[in-house]
């Protein structure tokens, strides 16, 4: 009996990893690919290693969306296509219709959309940080209909 319970617990751990894997991968597989402007710097996460922290101009919230909202409140950002690059259209607390949008949460005076970290080896992170300072870059995102997004890659502007 005890062995059966233990095996179930081990299977639970592995299944939860598979579920997390699906959660991470589904937006990449089913999402629509878009391109947004991005800048970055290079910190380190104690568990997950080195990454570049991505900064989007739409992450900083206008004053009317800050302060009054509790941290963690959901916010939606509608995007519009300008010459192949998606840029901020407007923020709202209700899901936009007939438009590509990102779903995020408010953290102080910024919103996080789950696309702020891009993990890479330390040398590469430092190199890309230097390149982006000179040339600028786009983040290629894969966005689902519900606004959840994943970063596919970072592309330098030529």
């Amino acid at each position: 009996m005890r062995v059966k319970i233990l095996i179930s617990a081990i299977i639970f751990q592995i299944l939860s990893l598979i579920a997390m894997l699906a959660y991470a991968y589904v937006p990449i597989y089913f999402g629509k690919e878009i391109k947004v402007d991005v800048t970055l710097y290079d910190p380190r996460d104690l568990l997950r290693g080195n990454y570049v922290s991505l900064n989007y101009d739409f992450s900083a919230l206008p004053i009317k969306y800050r302060d009054l909202q509790k941290p963690g409140t959901k916010i939606y950002l509608a995007l519009k296509d300008i010459n192949g690059t998606y840029v901020k259209d407007e923020y709202s607390f209700v899901k936009p219709k007939n438009q590509i949008f990102l779903t995020g949460r408010i953290y102080g005076n910024r919103a996080k959309f789950g696309i702020e970290a891009f993990f890479m080896p330390i040398d590469k992170a430092l190199q890309i940080e230097r390149d982006i300072r000179q040339k600028g870059a786009w983040a290629i995102l894969s966005v689902m209909d519900n606004g959840s997004a994943r970063i596919k890659e970072i592309v330098l502007k030529e």
């Binding site: 062995v3 617990a9 997950r48 080195n50 996080k112 994943r150």
Partner: protein, 419 residues
Amino acid sequence: MILLNKNFLANELAKWRNEGLIDRVTSEKIAARYDIDLQNIGDKKNFILKLVAYLFLALSLITLVGANWEEMPRYVRLLIIISILAFVNLSALFMLKKGRESTAISLFFLGNFCYGIAIALIAQIYHLGEHMPNGVLLWAVGAFVLSISTKKSILITQSLAIALLWFIMDIELRVSHEFLIFIAISFYMLLKDESKALTVMLFISIFVYIICNMANLSSFEFSQFMWYITINQIVLIGLSYSLFGISLSLVAQKFNKIKIAVALRWISLITGIAILLFAMSFISHRNYDYIDLNNSLAFYGRIYGVLHIVFATFSLIILAQFKRYYVAILALFLLILPFGVGYFFEYSNAIYSILSVITGAVLIKQDYLKLGLSTIFIVANVRYFDLIGDYIGTSLLFLLFAVIVLVVSRNKKAIKNES
């Protein structure tokens, strides 16, 4: 014989045997007389060493994952880490079936780390940067499921530590009351499988939960003055919580939960003294010069004031029940302490210093000689260097310290003469 003394005697017996003072048979006879399992005490040390080794192994794996092997395809990296997780856990299961319980538990301990590493790896591979505590929560849940099924308190301790990590990381967004579920499960498991480590971890977890709630409530009510006021309130709650821990250790001892009693008394004492020494060093009237919100009514009227009263009152009742009258006096002091630091906040330093010396004296009275003396000397040291101009006041304070310690010493002498 209490557990601490048993451990001491077991270690001494081993030394005497090695030095040739006694032979193996005599050492075993002495051990049997005091119900000491010499074999198990050796096994326990080996078990702890195994846990430490596996902890380093886990750190090595975390660092390896952090290196971010881009040259290796994603699926290969995932396959490796999930295979390691499955292999470690199945090996543990195999060891358990073979009856090698301590090896099995150590492997499950490593397995729980591997599970967390796998979560970190998936987050790294798919650049999940939205809210990292969610990943730690998943880690805590998975670790708890495995730990509960083993019913081993050392694994529950590990899982509770992970849950505590999640709770602290999640503070950025909110105070997660769901943490209480982890605390409740751990408490239940502690009653099933007594453990010092789990007792200490539970004590810390509950304290952190209370403090975070207080800080959260205060931030909405006091804005810029929140910090000074909250620190003083944390000190008050921390002191009554520690005394409550000491009282509960007496209850645990009565119900023959010796490991829980020893650990609870130790962690409560250390926490209480650390808080007292912090308060008498840093809670200065200078912080309150421009605040009059910190009065006793503001404290008693709020949820954490009620909590303070509950802790101190229950401590008083339990201590009186167990005839620990000297410690019970401290509980009485704690009940009126918010009045003291509320109305005379200019003298907070002095009030906490006097309380520290009284605590030191009570500790000596309760046969914690070194701890009591250390407390008194730290207070004297800090007060001497911090007198800053007020020579008369400091001199009077030292005089009071001397009187307190002399009173205790006279009583000790009287008891000795009587005996």
